[in-house]
Subunit: 142 residues, 2 copies
DNA sequence: CTTGACCTTTGACCATAGTCTAATGTTTAT
DNA sequence: ATAAACATTAGACTATGGTCAAAGGTCAAG
């Protein structure tokens, strides 16, 4: 058995010790076993757990959302359909985020094409993008 | 000329009055003209300005990033190449976010396929996705 | 000319997600 | 055996992005 102290866990997972304890307080990770001297000891598996939290957070999930998913996993009363429902909602949210990001991406890409890197910024078409909202700029025709 | 009080501006832009004043304090919108009685009055254009902030924020840009872009626009010393550089960095960031979201999206999509909505959650493959980190689960082969 | 809807300011408060400090205890290495 | 490196707690502090309340001034309608 490969047990880790909080410092080693944190290092392996790429977070700080404070963050580990913070997640524990928030119920995102289980309260770990303790040594005789009250040190937290974690199984190796907690590393993956923490990395998952880290990645999911980067992708825009809140700690509460991540916690919900963990709870769903551990709840013996939760059914596959509960998980399915949750994931389907999330799939929609992610699709929408990807769409919006793609919109702003092509707006910015067009900008770099027409903004050739010479002359004053006042001639740069970024002004147009900034002045209208994104929805409008989508149907903005030349 | 179509001038707006703060309430009308906020309503048109879909934000609260407090948010407008907050953005003003943060330097995201210009300090507006005032009436004799010290009321803020805005030109119609501020609506688009606020809507842009709102949308950009939804897409994950921080208020400081948005402010930077506005500053760049207004700075007479800023050149097209500054704007171009900024937008190119942002383009990279957005592409990366889209990629990461696409990864988690397909993970979730696979889940809903294999998780058919019957039986206990313990049999649901979401456990696998949660146990490894996303990078690992990408190269996880059966 | 008053009532209600609007505006003003200052400053407190909230949630999210940590981050740091102080005071103290434990383990490890030389 | 002692110093360095690590652990513990409680609680204060940070940044971001607002949101609300108090106490008051202004404006438009009846």
């Amino acid at each position: 058995m490969n047990e880790l102290t909080i410092g080693k866990l944190a290092k392996k997972a790429g977070v700080t010790i404070d963050t580990v304890r913070f997640y524990e307080r928030r119920g995102l990770i289980n309260e770990p076993a303790r040594t005789q001297s009250n040190y937290r000891i974690y199984p190796e598996e907690e590393v993956a757990h923490l990395r998952f939290i880290k990645k999911a957070k980067e992708l825009g999930f809140s700690l509460n959302e991540i916690k919900q998913l963990f709870k769903l996993q551990d709840d013996p009363k939760a059914s596959k359909s509960d998980v399915k429902e949750w994931t389907e909602i999330k799939i929609w949210e992610i699709r929408r985020r990807i769409e919006d990001l793609s919109k702003i991406l092509s707006a910015l890409e067009q900008l770099t094409v027409s903004c050739d890197g010479h002359g004053p910024v006042s001639e740069c078409p970024i002004i147009g993008v900034l002045s209208g909202d994104l929805e409008e700029s989508k149907q903005h025709h030349p």
